[in-house]
Symmetry: D2
């Protein structure tokens, strides 16, 4: 099979680096360039030091339109700006939040398709531009999609979740300082997290009704990778019925797995998996959901979208060994 | 002032050790004995190695009734068993869950008083036996007491919280193994945590009505000390009204502080403080609450109860330097 | 290419689990059985929960001789015991310390070859039994082999190193308790670490002289995976000469890389790489060496040895994405 | 006893904050001002958030000479600059490295005394300016002073040590980023650490001879507080003789303790203690030494120096509860 050519804009950040790690091992991809404004000319392993010995690729400060797929990892705001002058024909996969919402999803003559494969696989196959979902947004949507599809989101949904530090990117800030974050925890954007908009948008599209309130309390965890969320809502569904419904929904989706025991975050760290776990307590259905924010929550999902778009096996390049510890 | 004599049953565990650290520095207390079945005869610093150079105290395998206050740190179940044969006259302060609930609070001719000073200070002054509250229970009650007092708990309360590993004690288990817990997070006892009973009991006694459902999602954090919880509920109270109400309620209580900015756990680690922070988002009041599970959530609160009972300054021996990092 | 059949004895421990993660993805291997005395009949993902969704393999409490390669992960002492009654013809790769030393390397009619590919690749090709090196032993030997080959180990060698918690296996102990190990560090087996014997044995065989004293101070780190060691010794070699010597030595070895900047542990975590870095300070040559104790220090090296023995590409199944964070 | 008045220059950093935590609880000190160029006018708890509820003190952007003791926490270089224009008469205690070395210890008409109480107690009593030692420097000197006093430093000394992140201060940098440092370890300034100069200076002054080479490998640890070092050297001293010698040397020093079992870092975290532990392996004497870099390695030692200078009990305000976990 002829390899496709991929370009990466903004390759020096966390998601850009993770994408590089994946694409360098992908059986059907050749990396055409990794663009970085501030690192042009440097070997990529000088920035992503774990790549030492794996590639002689250098960052470039220019880019070419001669690619089949272009990943935008330059961050929120920068993606929209880039698209204003972009004239290439490549499939564009944007990892920022710029094009996720209806009303914001158009750039020139392109309309971005929301790139959650477990919701939009068919649309992704036809897309010319894909807006990759947010990390918390992916984790929470995967926890709720099967309910929305059966119109079971009929009561308020209560969510808490905790994210690793890489979710905040590599910029230096008080809350990313080791001496602050180590052995610490804090809540932030309580009930106001920006991912709620894309979550509601997907759920309402799927359930085809308005959705009751969704309340979300996010925490900053003192670990590097991963997101774990817990959702609960009142429902008449029994546990068995709910489990059957989830199994049905995710039957053909290779990265979502239903656990039979209460899971922990490290089951998915450094993989593209999302693990779900259901409980029923009284009249409340509880859904625990976990994924790696840099993989299924970002770069892994971007590769999954690319695989779907180009007709590769959906898991190509994504059969990753968990770090486990 | 003449020093009182204190005895500790079960002094080799985490709460026993923390109590020792406090009592060794307490201006009005002399330690009469530290009992440990399995460590009798050993210097206490062989078990609590940070006490090297601070005391020559040894564990004893017997105990005496010649004390003014007796702390029970032997764990759940063991406290009730101990009280069956106890004939001493000391003030008993139990750190287990054995005597916290109405219907379970009597041992022989003694009735245990629930030892939450911010709710029960007057009753504690008269008590002959005190049931020290649970760690999560303290954190959540302090977040909700001011609302209960004004009969404002009129909608379901949604709570998530995360606890350090010391909350699970020193016994070895899969979830206390470093290789498992490091860089990990997991939910447990979702909507079924045992502290909900004592929380409801206090809130209903204070509000003098039945309380709507309280939903609580606890997480195991990958840090050692501390608890952070977030509560929210629908209310018509404005933020300003709520803040005023909390300031009033805690006016005379030296360990509870209202923060004006979103706090983080390490503000309270290694102190006896509880920090509260309020937000209003739409019609939801959010209360973030934090404390050190071994101090305000256990041994510190036990000393606070002792101080109240013996008429010492409530903060005596509890003006602790935060570890801060 | 026809797949070889592999068996694992002691598959429920840390190295057994890591080996499973590797072999399940290996292009030329089919897993015949995973033996576990205490977990026979259970799905392997009940023990290694990150394998959920990857395999339906179950632990078995019996084993068969119908395999091409047999990995012994049952631990120190158990390997020798197993070999006493083993009658199969498979290549045996032992991950314990039982057969590493001359004088201890024979079991029945088999002699174990010390399985450090960067020292013994040709011998490994011919071996019928391989003693996989220790984790610290691998890290330190890779730091010193090029010097030994050129007879440059002529002054005492001073080494310090720090290891993650998985190096101590999954048994529960005080030093593996999260509440103890988190945010902590300690030295152990100072100047007496058992790996010094296999290190000396290799270096003396290569240098063909007696080696001056080697002093080693190991630390327990508060992280899960990885080993970093620093060696220094007096030498007349210039930095440039030393670097050339190391480049020559490792020219044909795919997993050892020379860094041009001072490295950090996470460059190699979750990979089979060893990264080396050289400095010269005054008359002292400094060699920093890092690897993942469960991979290049255990299961990864075992697979590398298998690859060499069966004529597979040395990197087959070992091109792993670093976790990086 | 009348309280002395203390001023702090550079009170917004880590050592300034730690000093504040100590002085606010000190029985003989009243804080006159806490100077911060960038935070003038803010309540100190807005920067050191753990001080919420403990003080209404505000940072000031000016300072007064009407103090008895002045602590300089403004950092390396800034201290010397400040002294150029300082006209006050207060005892000056500088926590930077600006005045520690002979040849650099004079500022105007003042000569700074090196402030290591276990070496210089008598000189500190007479000093008008004190240069507080470095954190690694304190840890290593306390490990070696008893040997120097008896002229036993006759062979090269080999040292490795690991420090928490607070040692690097609160400025943001790649190596203080949580996503980088978490679960990581790295060596730095190998054999070239700047504290070697003050270490040699003290040891040579005490031993009254030149000292053999001292080799030091420092590591960055993934924890917040604390330093652990291991020194070893060839000696004819028996273990018992060495232990006797250390006990003698530290007999009158309240913060240095000799452990009888191999210690771990958390024994001293959040205290002003230094714990030492001796082993003899072959002809090598091993000395393990541990302290909290912000306390005995910085602010705690500064207070200890103040106590000595003003004739307070040496432990006043320094009887701190270990965080222990």
């Amino acid at each position: 099979m002829k390899k496709i050519r991929a370009g990466i804009m903004g390759g020096a950040g966390y998601t850009g680096g993770e994408l590089l790690r994946l694409l360098l091992r992908h059986p059907h991809v050749e990396i055409a360039f990794v663009h970085s404004t501030s690192n042009g000319g440097k070997p990529v392993y000088q920035v992503h030091s774990d790549l030492l010995g794996e590639t002689d690729l250098h960052f470039s400060s220019t880019y070419t339109n001669e690619v089949d797929v272009l990943f935008l990892c330059a961050g929120h705001g920068a993606a929209r700006k880039f698209m204003e002058s972009y004239t290439g024909k490549a499939l564009v996969i944007d990892l920022s939040q710029d094009f996720r919402l209806k009303g914001e999803h158009v750039a020139g003559d392109r309309a971005f398709t929301y790139g959650l494969p477990e919701l939009q696989r068919e649309a992704i196959k036809e897309a010319t531009a894909i807006a990759n979902p947010g990390c918390f947004a992916t984790c929470i949507q995967l926890a709720l999609l099967p309910l929305a599809e059966r119109k079971q989101l009929t009561a308020p949904v209560h969510i808490s979740g905790i994210t690793g530090s890489t979710g905040a990117g590599q910029s230096l800030s008080e809350t990313s300082h080791f001496s602050w974050r180590n052995n610490n925890v804090s809540a932030y954007k309580v009930l106001t997290h920006q991912h709620l908009a894309e979550i509601r948008q997907s759920l309402e599209a799927l359930q085809q009704t308005e959705i009751p309130p969704i309340h979300f309390v996010p925490y900053r965890g003192n670990f590097s990778r991963g997101i774990l969320t817990t959702c609960y809502l009142q429902t008449e569904l029994t546990l068995e019925a709910a489990q059957a419904l989830y199994r049905d929904y995710y039957a053909g989706h290779p990265f979502v797995h239903l656990a039979s025991e209460n899971p922990d975050l490290k089951q998915v760290v450094n993989t593209n998996k999302c693990v779900l776990y259901l409980e029923k307590q009284g009249d409340q259905l509880v859904i625990i959901s976990l994924l790696d924010n840099l993989l299924k929550g970002a770069a892994g999902q971007a590769v999954q979208n690319m695989n779907i778009s180009f007709g590769f096996e959906e898991t190509a390049g994504l059969n990753l060994k968990a770090s486990a510890f």
